[in-house]
């Protein structure tokens, strides 16, 4: 907009840099969790996750081949081989070795390519960056090989073991599989049922004339902001009294009740914006209200329906309070993911690899929905609050 008067804003680069900084600041925490979920417990506690993305330097102790690997060349016993390929421990072949040493007092005394003479000039050792070495001795070698310390640059290393543990192991403490399915069981009916009920009510409020309509709309606007904390005890008492108790039915009903005001409000606003002509023409042609609703209004209202469906899905998927009050009983068989994570925070507060993976499993589905349906979400937000 600043270009309108033919002036190029000198602030352009500053704007770009600020946005980059803002985006990085907002992304950083989530990326930290994502990276941590791909690291082992040792890696997580050894270094910050931001270091995992870069090659790291590490000092490792390895051994050369022993007496059985030695060959005799004149009066020298010689062992040749590759430290990285021959030993099972230590870095994978491909790591780049920068320095080495043969004494624990000076683990990085020599650069690769140099030759060291030690043990009263009876032994020599040399190696290159890939780990190929040559070790000579004037005396017969012992069974165990020579101790060598290498300083190697390791490429970043990631593992899927945490996801294996959290999703597939079946370990009752860590497993998120059951909680995942439970969450899904809560979410889908709790998203679909309020939409159906709200759509009919919204149609009546938008296109039917009857006394008390304005009052009802005002009441729904009022109910939009009633905190659900107020509803917890009375409804729990009610559920216990009429025999629903704690369980899926209760949580579906509760989510339906709590989601309805927003659903009706959003859908009514959208439907009342549809062109009057279509509906009146259909009436003239003899369509009943039920037919108008199912054949004309519902298909036309798809964007609003999608918006609310996303809201309700995110809200029920991410909910903790309603599930804790209306669903989860003392057996814990019906635990949902948010609750499982809170429990993990208590029992495995230091095990970041499990926590990070569990949390990421739970937020991955909403994130997918978010990025796939962002358009509808934004539209719904705009319709729901700017009025």
């Amino acid at each position: 907009m600043d270009n309108i008067a033919g002036r190029k804003s000198g602030l352009s680069w500053a704007v770009n840099i600020s946005v980059v900084a803002l985006v990085l600041l907002w992304l950083f925490p989530t990326v930290g969790l994502l990276v941590s979920s791909f690291r082992t417990a040792d890696q997580i506690s050894a270094s910050g996750w931001w270091k995992a993305l870069f090659p790291s330097e590490q000092v490792v102790q390895l051994r050369t081949g022993g007496a059985e690997a030695a060959t005799q060349e004149g009066d020298l016993w010689v062992v040749e081989g590759n430290l990285l390929k021959d030993s099972e421990e230590g870095p994978e072949p491909g790591a780049e070795i920068t320095r080495f040493g043969v004494s624990s007092k000076a683990v990085d005394a020599f650069a690769v390519g140099e030759t060291t003479t030690f043990a009263k000039d009876t032994k020599t050792f040399t190696m290159d960056a890939a780990g190929t070495y040559r070790f000579t001795s004037t005396k017969e070698l012992k069974k165990r090989g020579q101790r060598v310390f290498i300083t190697a640059t390791l490429p970043p290393e990631f593992t899927l073991a945490n996801y294996d543990q959290v999703l597939l192991s079946g370990n009752s403490n860590d497993s998120m599989t059951k909680a995942f399915l439970n969450t899904l069981t809560v979410t889908i009916p709790a998203t679909i049922i309020p939409i159906v009920i709200a759509a009919f009510a919204a149609y009546a409020l938008a296109w039917m004339e009857f006394p008390g309509r304005a009052l009802l709309i005002a009441a729904i606007v009022g109910l939009l902001v009633v905190p659900l904390q107020l509803a917890l005890i009375p409804l729990l008492k009610l559920h216990l009294n009429i025999g629903i108790g704690k369980g899926y039915l209760g949580v579906w009903l509760a989510h339906t009740g709590f989601g309805l005001p927003l659903a009706i409000y959003l859908l009514r606003n959208y439907m009342s914006g549809l062109p009057r002509d279509i509906i009146e023409n259909a009436k003239v042609d003899g369509a009943t209200d039920f037919q108008i609703f199912t054949k004309i209004i519902l298909p036309l209202s798809f964007p609003a329906l999608a918006s609310f469906a996303i809201f309700q899905f995110l809200w029920t998927w991410n909910d903790l309070l309603v599930a804790k009050v209306f669903l989860i009983d003392s057996t814990g068989n019906t635990t949902v993911m948010t609750n499982q994570i809170v429990e993990l925070l208590g029992t495995r507060g230091g095990n970041w690899e499990i926590l990070a993976t569990a949390a990421f499993v739970s937020i991955s589905v909403p994130l997918l929905v978010f990025f796939a349906m962002q358009r509808y979400l934004v539209r719904g937000l705009l319709a729901g609050s700017v009025k």
Binding site: A5, V23, L184, I192, A201, Y248, T338, F371
Partner: protein, 408 residues
């Protein structure tokens, strides 16, 4: 029956039942009760049309009444009774008991802090992000990344930020980013710049901004013209702004005089008072995207002529933003502010998952949950729920009044 199957059956019964109910009740109305044929066809059609809205609204009214209407009154009643005495009426005893608890006042104080800081910070960041991203090519990508935390649950966000705040004993490698940054400060020049000068500047700017807003609010009182109610509201909110500005100024002195424990890893969530702000960061992080999306749409709705006119008159970008754009989107800012206020009043998951109200971080919603399900004291629990309702009701009334205005 497995829960998944049960869920499927419920969807079928629920959706099918709803559709069936609407279809058959309409059919019954049109064909049996008031058939649109025979001698009374005209009268029957009118009668059917009088009843039909209530058929459409029936399930919704029932659900709303049972799940939101009835609980308001039932909670009010429960807050006046005592569960241990078989629900006997005890008047305001629960409220008295609650007001006597220091934990309740701690929750109130923290909630007020949340109410001031979170909506203000989220709206400010949102406005900043909206204004900046609207001017660059890759703005929509940046927006969607800043908006992303909206999809993350409060519990997930709590885990994310617990990792950020993680502390290891001194000498170990820090794995929480905040402590890793903190350990870089050693009391030298950099520390002076970032921990003394920068906070003092931020606080000073904040104080100046709030004082300016207070002045804008108070100035029209002298000139007159408004009615007495508007004047009173202006006076109250103006004085509150001035008071906040004063508090900010006093904090500048605190910051200057503060001795920082350099080199000591901090467990941020256990530092009393300041830990509240570390919890608020989580909600600000989530809500900024919401504010940004709404405000960005509002900014784009500003008529270009006003901006062009300002440019022609030689206004610089800051003047355009603060004097032309912000006043025009003020109604939207108010909507965003109130919406976030509502979220803040109900904030529960974040505190529950991160500190559970320990170390002086209690908030009302978590206090209520404690009373209800740990102490099993339904009286005091209901009383605190009513307090939340009271805090919400000004917004409720305002919304209803606005909605009625629009209807006309």
């Amino acid at each position: 029956m497995s829960p998944a199957l049960l869920g499927l059956v419920t969807i079928v019964i629920g959706v099918g039942g709803c559709l069936g109910y609407f279809y058959f009740s309409n059919l019954f109305l049109d064909k049996v009760l008031f058939p649109a044929s025979g001698p009374n066809a005209g009268r029957n059609i009118n009668r059917a049309n009088m009843i039909r809205p209530w058929l459409f609204l029936g399930p919704a009214i029932l659900a709303l009444g049972l799940y939101l209407g009835y609980p308001v009154f039932e909670t009010l009643r429960l807050s006046l009774t005592d569960r241990t005495q078989d629900g006997a009426f005890v008047g305001l005893a629960n409220y008295q008991q609650m007001f006597a608890e220091p934990k309740f006042w701690e929750a109130m104080r923290n909630n007020m802090l949340w109410l001031i800081v979170v909506p203000a910070a989220s709206t400010a960041f949102g406005l900043l992000a909206a204004q900046l991203t609207d001017r660059i090519k890759w703005g929509s990508i940046a927006k969607s990344l800043i908006f992303m935390p909206m999809a993350i649950s409060f519990v997930g966000a709590s885990v994310i930020f617990k990792l950020v705040y993680d502390a290891r004993p001194a000498g170990n490698e820090q794995i929480g980013i905040l402590n890793a940054v903190w350990m870089q400060f050693d009391g030298g020049f950099g520390s002076l710049l970032f921990l003394k000068v920068a906070p003092v500047l931020i606080l000073a700017v904040f104080a100046a901004l709030v004082a300016y807003i207070g002045w804008l609010l108070l100035r029209p009182i002298v000139s007159g013209g408004d009615n007495i109610l508007v004047k009173a509201l202006r006076a109250i909110s103006g004085l509150i702004s001035l008071w906040i500005a004063l508090v900010a100024l006093r904090n500048i002195l605190d910051v200057i005089g503060m001795d920082f424990p350099y080199g000591q890893p901090q467990s941020w969530l256990t530092v009393p008072f300041y830990n509240n702000f570390f919890l608020m960061v989580v909600l600000i992080w989530i809500q900024t995207g919401f504010a940004m999306v709404i405000l960005s749409a509002a900014l784009r709705g500003i008529p270009e002529e006003t901006v062009e006119a300002a440019i022609v008159d030689g206004a610089n970008p800051f003047q355009i933003f603060f004097k032309i754009k912000v006043p025009q989107i003020m109604p939207t800012i108010v909507v965003v502010w109130t919406t976030i206020t509502l979220v803040v009043l109900k904030v529960f998951d974040i505190v529950f998952a991160m500190t559970n109200g320990q170390w002086e971080t209690q908030v009302l919603a978590n206090y209520m949950y404690d009373k209800l399900f740990r102490a099993n004291d339904w009286g005091v629990g209901s009383a605190s729920a009513i307090i939340i309702m009271l805090l919400v009701s000004p917004i409720l009334i305002w919304n209803v009044v606005q909605a009625r205005k629009e209807m006309r």
